[in-house]
Subunit: 328 residues, 2 copies
Amino acid sequence: MPFLLALDAGGTSTRATLVDRTGNCVSYARAGSGNPISSGTEYASAQLVLAAEAAVKSAGVAPSHIDSVLMAMAGMSVNASTDWISQPMKKRGFTGAIRLESDLLATFFSGTWEPEGYGVVAGTGSAGIRVRRGEVERSADGLGWLLGDVGSGFWIGHRVARAVMATLDGRAGPTGLTALLLEELGIPATGQRIVHGRLESLRLATDALYRLRPIELSRFAPLAFAVADDATAGSILADAAEALAGLFQAIASPNVTGPLVLGGSILAQEGVVAQSLSAAAAASGLVTTTHQVPDGMVGAIVLSLRSAGVEVGADVFQRIVATLAGLR
Amino acid sequence: MPFLLALDAGGTSTRATLVDRTGNCVSYARAGSGNPISSGTEYASAQLVLAAEAAVKSAGVAPSHIDSVLMAMAGMSVNASTDWISQPMKKRGFTGAIRLESDLLATFFSGTWEPEGYGVVAGTGSAGIRVRRGEVERSADGLGWLLGDVGSGFWIGHRVARAVMATLDGRAGPTGLTALLLEELGIPATGQRIVHGRLESLRLATDALYRLRPIELSRFAPLAFAVADDATAGSILADAAEALAGLFQAIASPNVTGPLVLGGSILAQEGVVAQSLSAAAAASGLVTTTHQVPDGMVGAIVLSLRSAGVEVGADVFQRIVATLAGLR
């Protein structure tokens, strides 16, 4: 029986699953970042090959017996060039066809087999898609930390950092975020000293934060969830929820009714952000059910089966979910 | 009669004035950026030397006859090290003592000779100071584009860019800023085409904006002033005004009553930002008069005279302003 290989390449890790044509997952493996945009094509292709080899090896299948490989990753579509990855894969014996797909579409199909609906992801960045006839009909945001990514981890973490700076600078009242951020940055209590008319902790925090790449400010997003009752944190999270509701409005269409699939670390957190987004989506009358998914692995498998001509309905989808859960 | 040399080093240009001990300005010259933080010490010191040499040369004075040189620049105080600039200056014959001072203090003393009051600057960045007994007693913001600089050119220009991206992305209604920004970026009308479910102009604008250094987004701040009646632009400017009023609150103290000096390109623009800030300051009861200044040149001269033991009151101040105006 021929096997298909599906990969879900994220900015932190890459997942690979070997599946048969009935949706039965037979092996699963992981490697590092397979995102060629954030990690470079050389590193990303090495990680993709690593994950692919580990998956076939643990199933005792030869790479040359894999008919087709589907890779879901950020910024990709079936129109994207596969040159950078097909050569390294061929060298390791993967002679089957390679197809790239949108990570957003893979996230959507990780929550549903239905061909129409909506997907919203808020992790380090954020983006939304409307899916129709199994394809992306409309996408919104995903414009990066400087110009968009509303309600994302960077968006929230950046506001956390700015709010604490405003407090230490005397431009805003106290917030519970201050102690959390200073602790996270390893700034000691002696930062309470006044040097040249300013709090020493303000100077130390400014220096520490500018040493990070801007996108790394996303690591402070969890602080807002940790003190969500705090007025400043609560207002940041309420703004994020409103921004993500606006993102949903941008992809919503009266012609598409179906499930809403939520992905990414921000929407995985309990609380106001995921709740408000789900409520706004439900109020639109366009959303039948809401599903939260940890990544795009199930959806990459769905897309892999469909591109091989297998029809994926409720039964096959359930088999993928159940057998994959047994492997990881 | 011995001369003093005062320099006002900005991020765009450096100004130098030769002045006698009565406040009579005898020559004036300009060079490129003399800010060692934004331009590097090598470039900045070369421009400072260039401006200094041009000023003494046009007055026919030998560099060795200058007793003392005062340089006002961002991030500096009298405690800052002068090593990076004193060697290049000595090599060109400037053997007098070199003293560095805060550009914010120089901006303040460009509007008044009085020893107490408030200074607020909003150019590419923003910051405020409270001045007491001729020195900075308290400063606020100046924390840079990522963490602070509320109401600054970057702050406004960044919001202009994000607002237009939200409109092109379907997350916000139309704004008069869109046409202005696309024109500024040279994006043609064919950008109205839909490619892969998105406006072509959105992709072109995103690519163009990420090619800039983040701080360069400040160049879009004037677009908000150009269509201040537009709801989106008006709300950006109102937020900037509110943020700068908050900056004033942070430096305000019941112990200091005096003039408010406004500097920087944003506060030089007619309209809601400078007006609201002046109104908030006047309402505090701590501000006697408000002055707008184009740069810190007059103040650098005031600081230079004072550090040489000259008392600068209303008469000397007026002589500086009048004779400098005749030179530039």
